[in-house]
Assembly symmetry: C2
Homo-oligomer: 444 residues x 2
Amino acid sequence: MINQVLELLEEKKYAQARNVIEEMNAVDVAAIFAQLEERETIVKLFRILPKELAAEAFAYMEPDIQQNVIEAISDKELSYILDEMYMDDYMDLLGEMPANVVKRLIKNASEETRGLINQFLNYPEDSAGSIMTIEYVDLKRHLTVQQAFDHIRKTGVDKETIYTCYVTDENRVLEGVVTAKELLLADPNEIVGNIMSTNVIYVQTLDDKEQIAKLFSKYDMLSLPVVDKETRLVGIITIDDAVDVMQEENTEDFEIMAAISPTDESYLKTPVFTHVRKRILWLLILMLSAMITGQLITHYEDAFAAIPLLVSFIPMLMDTGGNCGSQSSTMVIRGMALDEIQMKDFFRVWFKEIRIALVCGIILSVVNTLRIWIQYGDFFMAITVGITLLITVIIAKSLGCILPMLAKALHLDPAVMASPLITTIVDVCSVFVFFNMAIWILHV
Amino acid sequence: MINQVLELLEEKKYAQARNVIEEMNAVDVAAIFAQLEERETIVKLFRILPKELAAEAFAYMEPDIQQNVIEAISDKELSYILDEMYMDDYMDLLGEMPANVVKRLIKNASEETRGLINQFLNYPEDSAGSIMTIEYVDLKRHLTVQQAFDHIRKTGVDKETIYTCYVTDENRVLEGVVTAKELLLADPNEIVGNIMSTNVIYVQTLDDKEQIAKLFSKYDMLSLPVVDKETRLVGIITIDDAVDVMQEENTEDFEIMAAISPTDESYLKTPVFTHVRKRILWLLILMLSAMITGQLITHYEDAFAAIPLLVSFIPMLMDTGGNCGSQSSTMVIRGMALDEIQMKDFFRVWFKEIRIALVCGIILSVVNTLRIWIQYGDFFMAITVGITLLITVIIAKSLGCILPMLAKALHLDPAVMASPLITTIVDVCSVFVFFNMAIWILHV
């Protein structure tokens, strides 16, 4: 359907394009804008859209497309869009645009919105305040269900959700919550105060958004109220934003675990030098750390000068140690991210990893010892590598669970203690154990 | 609050416990059950709960707790719970319980449910059918809004969501969708057919659940209709289940990228031998592959017999290559998982990675060359390592983007081509380049 519209636009058949587009979802309309390059066509398309659809589609566009549109349309059209936008989308927009566009956005916003901007700018980046919106339905406890519906009918069209309604007192203090389902199934003359639930799960404006996303997934909620220090209702967070936070946090963990500084830009749109900046620091740190292993090896020159074959086992020991460590750290980091593993489980986790390491280590060790014994016919050489491997696996899996939990205890991000860093640390250990075993068993 | 209830239960103050618990959320009630060990207390707690809350809490329990409860309660209580359960939760339960419990579950289900079980058992594990539920609101197009509300009031209490209603014809073919918000804001005498949206986003029973979760996040939906081959509506998927799928898929990617076979068990509840089974295969494969690097090194015995110092650079080269490769593969795998990178972007991505590799490689290489030159005063040695490092970084970052995209093209999971496998492949390359450079530049 998107291609059909694009073709019609190219052939300048605007009336037909409008007919097709009117039936479309705002997300798909936004996708059409992303395909257009000429400013002229963008304005044209924007102007044939029904106004509401245009405004809704605008909220779904990528920032660079939004900027294109803003720069192409008139002030009047712009202020229409801004009026239709929810506060959370509006704040996102302000955050993404360059200074001159921001100026125009603020100039064309309603007076009420301008008043709110300052308040919202005070919420820290990762806080509940930064992702909440103010378009919620608020009810009073003394209303009847019928009156509540009248209120929803009157004000609901501009609300981001009407399915969870919040009951507040005269000072805007949150008193309870009632769902549209409960209202619908209740008697029209029932009092809201009687059917609302008073055991409300809420968050405060400064709460961390990652924790909030977890609340959504724990309690299967569609929206969550945000209150200030006096438990006055100031906004709500909706499930779609919570899902975005969840995915962002996952992406961040993937990046940190691969020794990349996280950003929220998409891969293709990020310039090469930004990518380099996100990656080079950790690469340098890890490269310089890996030199420690190198320095250590030079201490054992005599050993591998006597038996050069020893050197050939280093890659296998290093890689296997790294892999074992990254398996454990991944399980622990992910377990902590999902709250399946708590700090109090420390010894349980460690004991489990030690047992896993023993079993894995013995299997790997036996396979390796036999392989070397058969290939080189040197039993003592084989047993040297075998024992080293077993010890390496145990060290790797121990560090793999200890370091992320230690990081958490120190209020660092556990994801930092992932494969790259653990591999580097385990390398030193395995080389040290290996050559000492060789000196001890093979008397080199 | 959970601790308070636990204390009251311990002191056998059941009436007081009931008062506290009645105000609680079903998720928290489920958490109390998870803390109890004695079957006697479990039954006791279960029996003091209001019936509906008991049934709702049951759906939120972990499988082992559910089994405890099932084995503790009477057949009559069990069939009450099963009646209250949504079909998707019921199917999950059947999938988790041992054979004897399953037998009892089927015996105590309603006749209607028993008829549906066979149908649901036919849906493959990762399909839309396996996560959908059948408790949706269906309307007819000729109804007025008022009649629609009457229908919702009559049937809504048992529906998993009433906020999106599905309009079907007499053959159950899906015709349109109308939200509770649209109904509420419409005139009571308006005809449903006039306000419903006919451009419905739907999925088929066999569609992959990962793709479905992506639809939710793309279109910000609360529920999604599932149709059969004749576009007859057979069920719906709700956002809470889509969020679970999203998190499962993320966990799966984390595990596969750390060379662990994925499962959906939680870390602490998985026995040691299951953990070993999930990890050992990849460890063995990667260990045996790492031996190739070892074998390769033995070919260059003469080189490092002449200059033993060469050996000390191997860990740094291997680690840096591995880190560079895993950075690139992580970015590409995650980008593909989020649909930010498509197959058609292959050359764009590769070109980008080559440029990133060049810049990163030159920086790392210069730092390294200077370090070695200063430390050992041997310029040619330094330049040998430096050039090798640059080439290694370029190879690593190229493989890091090529292999995951190749995997996708071959319909394999791109996440397999992550750090562990790429590290092993890059190892061979870096050792090969290194010794050939040494032979060429240092004439060893």
